[in-house]
Symmetry: C2
Subunit: 348 residues, 2 copies
Amino acid sequence: MYKIVEWKKDKVVMIDQTLLPTRVVYRTYNDYKAVAKAIKELVVRGAPAIGVAAAMGIALGAKKIKQTTLKDFKREFKKVATTIAKTRPTAVNLFWAVKRMNDIVEEFTGVNIDTLKKKLITEAKNIHREDIDRNKSIGKHGGRLLKTNSTVLTHCNAGALATAGYGTALGVIRGAVAAGKNIKVFADETRPVLQGARLTAWELMQDNLDVTLITDNMAGYMMREGLVDCVVVGSDRIASNGDVANKIGTYTVAVLAKAHGLPFYVAAPTSTIDMAAKSGDDIPIEERSSKEITHVRGKRIAPVGVKTLNPAFDITPARLVTAIITEKGVIKPPFKAGIKKQFAKKKK
Amino acid sequence: MYKIVEWKKDKVVMIDQTLLPTRVVYRTYNDYKAVAKAIKELVVRGAPAIGVAAAMGIALGAKKIKQTTLKDFKREFKKVATTIAKTRPTAVNLFWAVKRMNDIVEEFTGVNIDTLKKKLITEAKNIHREDIDRNKSIGKHGGRLLKTNSTVLTHCNAGALATAGYGTALGVIRGAVAAGKNIKVFADETRPVLQGARLTAWELMQDNLDVTLITDNMAGYMMREGLVDCVVVGSDRIASNGDVANKIGTYTVAVLAKAHGLPFYVAAPTSTIDMAAKSGDDIPIEERSSKEITHVRGKRIAPVGVKTLNPAFDITPARLVTAIITEKGVIKPPFKAGIKKQFAKKKK
């Protein structure tokens, strides 16, 4: 079984998602700056996986700090955390993970820096383990929403590869299958970075699940032909009102689902919910390189010098969302109250 | 200025649209079977351009028939026409052009086969010339619908490259610009064959028109951001009730336009209207090779053995269409009556 992000012999090991599905290559990182670069360049991607990689990157950076007083250590630690936090703007799990690591340092009262370093490594491993557990819970809750012999359309990759393992949207599918249901999947290829074609198709095929790859612009056709029963996607950040930031094209799929009377489900751990964001308007949308549009896998497909726009995410307003599935259960509208309630539960 | 399809020194010359925009290569055809292959393999594409290429291919095939009696000639001609007609199923202009060429043979009463061959070449040239004239009329009528300082979103390529010249959807944009209006264009890249990225972006840049290339799944985002004022697309076949067959993804754009209250215009010559098709249900949808989905410009982007679907077209129901623009004017709903009226006018 492939691993997505791992803490191994005091190094960070990640499967290189930029090379999938044609090559399966693992990269070993011994430097937090290289981890930051890997996050930026999509070696690891998917909001929960970014969170895990960020935590491990910080643990790696912290481990190598040479300063021995707590004050000096904290100054160096801040550099590490800031570098990791600056990699990508939209996925809130990144900032959530950075905060968890930071809290460990802030709460530290001991004098032995080595102890603190070990605590940070443990916390990164906890974030990793908890993410898998959370995804399995998401799968259990969400799996109940899927009918047997139904076809789910998904966009981008919110699978094992987008998380520590098991996946969010694909976790829901895995949960339904684990409950004995017969589920087929349509995977949107998801231009420009082709996470659907390269990652979702690959990981579902690894599990012998029934997946059919289509181009993004075929989703409407498939729905009109009656070939889709519901949509399940992941999220990079959910505002407190239920607006959902996710891979560019998610909003288009949501509009299509609404027009065809199909349920539109969002699966994400509570670490993806940003209570500070009142609505989608508060979520920054990353604009990525023009080359992602003008080239595919290194091959030029557009005229030299053509103008492009490349927003990597879009906002699906809460009114188009049927339910949000977290590890704590299924939230139905009105989302503001439901989300608040789950967060109240969270405080143990 | 680039030419799309041309009758030159008793041969057919076409720009190879599979190589654009990275290479501008003209191919010369001296054999109707090679023209048929070129149509199949998208060297020439776009409903009106396919019609012109079909007529020229038939003229080429007819010219080379060695049989000297009318009966023998007709038998050989039928083979030529059938080969050309079988290349692609959706664009009705193909069958319309074959019929026009066939009518020349059917109506022929002379004894000199050479005269008939010349008549066929003349008819093919007429189809070519008329198509450009029709597109300029479409541009004049349609250009009036566009407001100055507005942004048009278009899907696929319904430009000069899809016709004998000037274009249908892009003809409307050229018509508005010719009338002094300031128009910006969003071009959907149009997976899987990337006619938007490769052809629409290229030909608009050749004319110094303001074009921004986006992936198909960004159309919804751009509309929600208020960056799109209307949609103009071409068509491969329009049913008598106003249902529109066009490049896969057009239906998705039409649903999005409706959801955002934006006009959705279809520009096509009357040769694209199929009075025999009562609705979109009567229009065959071509299913193309899986390789178009799994590879981009020869590069594999999906796992080996992945299942795919590849419908090359979809149907946009008439209820999502704001107006159909033909060379005879603008048809508004109810389309059935409006289309019938234009066809009554047609009979001179």
